[in-house]
């Protein structure tokens, strides 16, 4: 582990490099690196903007509005918030459980969301680095470059995304601001025509998902040393699993394993997450650092997301993806895989699994007919936990007698991975930046490590011209010595500060 790089012993005499914002990451992230006179790395920190404003945004609203409102927290995974909120509020309306039709339609929506989001990450955000190289020409290292050099890969990425969006549309009711899931169930069935439309494409999408797994596998095989070591740090892993230990993305019990793969706890109810997880506050970061209570903050931090899920479960309950998971595990030679770049491989296995689940659900008559809503004794609060594309997502609400939300607590996937991402960038900084003259390509190595986790910083604001990348070299007195600015058009400008 690289905890020694979290805080430098004598920061007063060090140069500061800031990467702000981190590119191809949703929202605003910043990396600061302190260097000594010999360019030796002394401190590395990933800073991410605060999420608390989102909770205040929800508090005071009628609970039945919440599953729709929370979609506005994030333009990337609105469906995950939609469903986590619905699951939490099922408790408030006493819908325990929801009906089979509601459960299956929500699952269909969720697996469509995970599939398309994972596909977007791999094909759009990660593939430029993986296909061209981390320090390849910056003007080529983007989705447009991929589309020109590998049009077949780009096309598959687009079509997988489109299919996932169609699954969301037919289950949520609309392309955006869907209202399909409500506290207690769903408000519509899938139509027979929509089901047939989706079924026509299932075989092709499944085939492309298998191709995507093969691409990820080939990348590992071509450069195993890089893929095994880049940003690697050992950690605990946490996720939902089904009661029988199967991979489960929509609803299950909480399981955690230590870095060696031994189970720390299993079968824990999601309603008791506060007994399992605590969040540490650090003075230099707005975002909290969750840890397992039983291990404490120093040893209890953990990973979530595809890499954790595939290794936390005992099996994948779909044949093609299970076969791929076994091959993936073989890569670790009996040891858990902790390499951040392995997230991409795990992510593509999940895409394949999602397609298998989608195919199965589309054949299920319960999505076309049956009771949509359930209800029961009213409760004052509820917790909904779901495996979002990037990892475990927790929604927790309390509701007053007037139906207004009085308390909202959200722990998003990126927060769970906060410490893991910090450890990854420290590992990369020590390996690649230490003692080197900084270049854009070297700094991109830092960003590659962060992007492996696909952090979504939940910022759907994206107005034109808002997202430059700026790297500043600042001396111990706070004066800027050098600055490299990458404009929103991708042009690099370097020179003295005017």
């Amino acid at each position: 582990m690289n905890r020694s790089l979290e805080t430098a012993a004598h920061p007063q005499g060090l140069k500061r490099v800031a990467i702000e914002p981190v590119s191809r990451v949703e929202g605003h992230g910043k990396v600061t690196i302190l260097l000594d006179e010999q360019h030796r790395v002394q401190q590395v920190r990933l800073h991410i903007v605060e999420f608390r404003g989102f909770e205040k945004f929800i508090e005071g609203r009628p609970y039945w509005e919440v599953p729709v409102m929370v979609q506005r927290l994030c333009g990337i995974c609105p469906v995950s918030h939609h469903l986590a909120a619905s699951k939490a509020l099922d408790h408030v309306v006493g819908a325990l459980p929801v009906t089979p039709s509601a459960d299956k339609i929500r699952r269909l929506m969720h697996y469509g969301q995970v599939m398309q989001s994972n596909a977007l990450h791999f094909f759009h955000l990660a593939s430029p680095d993986l296909l061209f190289g981390f320090d390849s020409e910056v003007n080529r290292r983007n989705i447009v470059g991929v589309a020109e050099a590998h049009p077949d890969i780009a096309r598959k990425g687009v079509m997988l995304r489109k299919f996932g969006q169609e699954v969301i549309r037919v289950t949520a009711g609309k392309r955006v601001h869907g209202t399909g899931s409500v506290p207690g169930g769903v408000n519509k069935h899938v139509s027979a025509a929509d089901r047939e439309m989706l079924q026509r494409d299932v075989a092709q999408m499944t085939a492309w998902a298998r191709d995507a797994v093969d691409i990820a596998k080939q990348l590992h095989a071509q450069n195993p040393a890089l893929y095994d070591s880049f940003g690697t740090c050992r950690s605990n892993m946490l996720s939902l699993v089904r009661a029988d230990g199967a991979l489960e993305l929509y609803d299950g019990v909480i399981r955690a394993r230590d870095a060696a793969g031994a189970i720390l706890f299993d079968g824990a109810s999601d309603q008791g997450y506060l007994d399992l997880i605590e969040e540490e506050v650090k003075p230099w970061s707005y975002m909290k650092f969750p840890f397992l209570k039983s291990l404490g903050p120093a040893a209890g931090w953990y990973r979530v997301g595809p890499l954790a899920r595939l290794q936390n479960c005992d099996f994948v309950p779909s044949p093609l993806a299970e076969s791929e998971r076994r091959e993936f595990l073989d890569w670790g030679h009996g040891e858990p895989i902790h390499a951040p770049l392995a997230y991409h491989w795990a992510r593509m296995i999940e895409v394949l699994h999602c397609m298998e689940v989608i195919a199965e659900l589309l054949d299920d008559p319960d999505i076309l007919a049956g009771e949509r809503m359930a209800g029961g004794a009213r409760r004052r609060g509820g917790i909904g936990v779901i495996e979002a594309p990037r990892g475990t997502l927790i929604h927790h609400y309390e509701v007053g007698d007037d139906d207004l939300v009085t308390m909202c607590n959200l722990i998003v996937s990126t927060t769970h991975n906060n410490q893991a991402m910090n450890e990854a960038v420290r590992s990369v900084a020590r390996e690649y930046l230490d003692g080197q003259e900084l270049t854009e390509g070297l700094l991109n190595h830092i960003e590659v490590a962060i992007r492996a986790y696909d952090p979504c910083l939940s910022c759907a604001t994206h107005a034109l011209g808002q997202m430059p990348l700026e790297v500043s070299l600042i001396d111990a007195r706070g004066e800027t010595l050098d600055r490299v600015r990458r404009s929103s058009q991708g042009e690099l400008q370097r020179g003295a500060v005017g």
């Binding site: 914002p21 981190v22 590119s23 191809r24 990451v25 949703e26 404003g53 989102f54 205040k56 945004f57 409102m69 506005r72 927290l73 333009g75 990337i76 609105p78 398309q116 977007l120 094909f123 759009h124 955000l125 910056v138 003007n139 080529r140 290292r141 983007n142 989705i143 447009v144 470059g145 589309a147 020109e148 049009p151 780009a154 096309r155 990425g157 687009v158 079509m159 995304r161 489109k162 969006q165 392309r175 955006v176 601001h177 979504c456 759907a460 604001t461 994206h462 107005a463 034109l464 011209g465 808002q466 997202m467 430059p468 990348l469 990458r486 404009s487 929103s488 058009q489 991708g490």
Partner: protein, 170 residues
């Protein structure tokens, strides 16, 4: 069946002036309810799969909030460009057209960006008064654009000038 004209706005309705894109689409949709051959779409962000929404169109109007546009708005012809995407999961209009070219093997239909000046993007905030004034002006321009014959619109937007800012009509 797809219509000849696509009006596509994007933004987050709960992020202050970021709502300008969807609000403009909403206003145009209401005003053009009886206008045949026009489809209105909105989303949070431009994403790769939106390239498929452009297929088979005669022409396209993109609408977004902009921090860099002069008030009240600017109108820019969009051409496909192999520009890197910085800082977000989303695409720029020019990158979307480039993705279209890669996926479809041909150039995208003629496309125009209506960039409406915004300034405040806080979560939970309503659009600012200034932004709403800019929206009024942008809607008026867009209604004229929709009503004008295609030939005159092509003369209006020289395709070789992807960076050129045209008169805003303000």
């Amino acid at each position: 069946m797809k219509t000849g004209v696509l009006v596509f706005g994007w933004g987050n309705a709960s992020r202050g002036d970021d709502a300008l894109g969807p609000l403009c689409v909403e206003r145009l949709r209401e005003a053009c309810a009886d206008l045949p051959g026009v489809e209105f779409l909105d989303d949070y962000q431009l994403q790769v799969e939106h390239a498929l929404d452009l297929v088979g169109r005669e022409r396209i109007l993109f609408i977004d909030a902009s921090l860099g546009a002069p008030a009240p708005f600017e109108v820019v012809p969009v051409t496909a460009a192999a520009r890197p995407e910085i800082g977000t999961h989303a695409l720029s209009p020019s990158a979307l057209l480039q993705v279209y070219r890669a996926v479809q093997g041909e150039d995208a239909p003629p496309s125009t960006l209506l960039a409406i000046r915004g300034q405040a993007f806080e979560l939970g905030a309503a659009p600012s008064a200034a932004a709403l004034r800019h929206l009024d002006a942008a809607v008026a321009w867009a209604l004229n654009w929709l009503a004008a014959p295609a030939a005159s619109r092509r003369r209006e937007l020289p395709p070789t000038s992807s960076a050129e800012t045209l008169p805003t009509g303000a």
